[in-house]
């Protein structure tokens, strides 16, 4: 723009159309639309005769689902930050984690359920085994495929396509090893809901999932903020060339990023399998909510991904008071589209 043009702009301010457009793209505009969406969902639930206690329970389940989506979403957003591509095979990593835990539970002798939960120590062992194992698988995939693309400085679209191919590949491997049947960690073992005040009905397993998500998210936060490797990951995401100049071995940072995001995806998968059941496409159905959460929370921002995940998890669950739970991913999709239309940089992003 010419200097004269800027002078005119300064004298009269932006045109009304532009001012309206700017107002509609603010953070608060997106937040209000999301809030309105929630009001509509709750109203729809009440119209369908859902009790306040049921809606409150759905809220709590939603926060739990948000924890599961968030564990995947944090990994997705970290990988995007450091490697700058959307990893479409992230859902498959979650599925793999769930099935590795399943095999561990099947292999180990069954112990008594722990306290009020439906599972015994062998599931905890499964979780502890699945997390590093899936992390190693993610590093292996990187070595075999993405690193070669990186060395050749391939375009973003090749990375995205490669990760999509890897998603189908991993899912096929899961079909081959574990078959296409639905599976449960403990076939036929019930976990009745606890009756809590205010008409709240929550399973002990759901509380476990919520607490585990909180613990893992706190650990990730401490890792990113307080440790040298965590700071190096953020530095590499922010400015990879400068990270190299400062002596950070970026290939090592990439390996740590895959280990962390693979392990978190696995934890998310195990928890999702515990909350419902295991099936080979479970991760694929988690992928859409994960992407919606990551974009809503501004891509590359771990805290944003978590906030987005809780919003989307709650929206999915509360919607089931009014419509079939099968539409859950559809609700995530609506929120994704709303975010992209109003503020593509998400709730926490700066104007680009």
């Amino acid at each position: 723009m010419t200097q004269a043009g800027e002078g005119v702009r300064a004298a009269f301010g932006p045109r009304p159309g532009e001012r309206l457009k700017a107002a509609l793209q603010t953070r608060s505009a997106l937040a209000s639309v999301i809030a309105l969406f929630f009001v509509l969902l709750i109203a729809a639930g009440l119209v369908q005769d859902a009790s306040a206690g049921r809606i409150l329970s759905l809220f709590v389940w939603g926060v739990m689902l948000g924890g599961v989506i968030g564990l995947g979403g944090i990994g997705l957003t970290l990988v995007y930050g450091v490697l700058k591509f959307p990893n479409f095979s992230h859902g498959a990593l979650a599925t793999l984690g769930a099935y590795i835990a399943f095999s561990t539970v099947a292999y180990l002798p069954k112990s008594e359920p722990i306290g009020p939960f439906s599972f015994g120590w062998e599931l905890v062992a499964g979780l502890v085994i699945a997390m590093p194992l899936v992390g190693l698988v993610a590093i292996g995939v990187d070595r075999v495929m993405y690193r070669r693309l990186r060395v050749q400085r391939s375009s973003l679209v090749l990375f995205a396509m490669a990760s999509l191919a890897m998603a189908f590949f991993l899912r096929s491997v899961i079909y081959l090893i574990w078959g296409s049947d639905f599976r449960f960690y403990y076939q036929g073992r019930a976990n009745p809901a606890l009756d809590l005040p205010l008409g709240l009905r929550v399973q002990a397993d759901q509380i476990f999932i919520l607490l585990l998500a909180v613990v893992l998210v706190t650990l990730v936060y401490l890792l990113l903020e307080k440790t040298k490797m965590g700071k190096a990951m953020r530095a590499t995401a922010n400015n990879p060339e400068l990270a190299q100049v400062r002596g950070i071995n970026t290939e090592k940072v990439i390996a740590y990023t895959w280990m962390l995001s693979g392990a978190l995806a696995a934890a998310g998968g195990v928890m999702y399998g515990l909350a419902s059941q295991l099936r080979p496409e479970m991760g694929f159905w988690l992928l859409l909510p994960m992407f919606a959460a990551v974009i809503m929370g501004s891509i590359g921002n771990p805290r944003g991904a978590l906030a987005g995940a809780v919003i989307i998890g709650v929206a999915q669950q509360v919607s089931s008071a009014a419509i079939s739970p099968a539409y859950g991913p559809g609700v995530a999709f609506v929120l994704l589209v709303l975010t992209l239309l109003i503020r593509p940089q998400g709730l926490f992003g700066e104007r680009s």
């Binding site: 040298k228 700071k231 953020r234 060339e241 400068l242 990270a243 100049v245 002596g247 950070i248």
Partner: protein, 236 residues
């Protein structure tokens, strides 16, 4: 034996050759300034020395070690640091975290003392240590960039146009700090500058580059008084 010895280096980007047989030396504790017109290959010399580009032919030796094939993260370990001209701070990290990243390869217990020395060198950084580097002014960012490079306690610091885009008062301040770093920390400095006159005044020796070759070399004073250099590169 010189600290840094660039011997007849030819290199470039992809198929495009930028440098032809460039030879440069930096002795211990010395300030060396490289001047020359835009596109002379000054920044490319820096990148080649720091391993961001590998020489097609020729040899680069630092502190007695051949580093021609080293990657940047290996070069940092040998005690050399580099301040790029642009994008030289982690904008999303705080000043404090930027300094931590400067000491990434160090695991000794002197890092805390070193940070205090950097804060003494640039008191402004201490005041703003919890602020994100991306929210700071150009001059403050240059301080963050130099401060994090110095966290390494290097033998040699490479500065690519430290005065670029700064207000005249800030340029004086940054140049004064560079001299201070050289004298009191005993760190050798190799810098590339557009601001030729000022940088030659503070340099022990200088090189004049043009079209990817080094044309003239001499002490700072010699180059300042050389009529050809003055006419061609110092603006009369």
């Amino acid at each position: 034996m010189p600290l840094l010895k660039v011997e007849k280096v030819t290199c470039g980007y992809g198929d495009m050759q930028v440098l032809t047989d460039v030879s440069i030396e930096v002795k211990r504790g010395e300030v060396v300034s490289i001047i020359g017109p835009n596109g002379a290959g000054k920044s490319t010399v820096m990148k080649a020395v720091f391993g961001l580009l590998h020489p097609w032919s020729g040899r680069i030796e630092f502190d007695g070690v051949d580093i021609s094939r080293h990657e940047p993260y290996q070069i940092v370990e040998t005690g050399m640091c580099y301040v790029p001209q642009v994008a030289n701070v982690f904008t999303e990290l705080t000043v404090d975290e930027n300094l931590d990243m400067g000491a990434f390869v160090r695991s000794d217990d002197q890092v805390g003392d070193r940070k205090q020395q950097i804060f003494d060198l640039f008191p402004r950084l201490y005041e703003r240590r919890r602020q994100k580097a991306g929210k700071m002014s150009g001059g403050e960012r240059q301080m963050v960039a130099m401060g994090s490079a110095l966290m390494l306690d290097p033998k040699l610091i490479l500065l690519d146009e430290p005065s670029a885009g700064l207000a005249p008062k800030m340029v004086d301040h940054i140049f004064e700090r560079i001299v201070h770093v050289n004298r009191s920390f005993n760190i050798a400095v190799m810098m590339v500058e557009q601001n030729a006159k000022q940088s030659l005044q503070m340099a022990h020796r200088g090189y004049v580059m043009a079209s990817g070759e080094n044309r003239v070399e001499g002490t700072g004073t010699e180059l300042l008084n050389d009529p050809d250099v003055a006419r061609l590169y110092l603006g009369g």
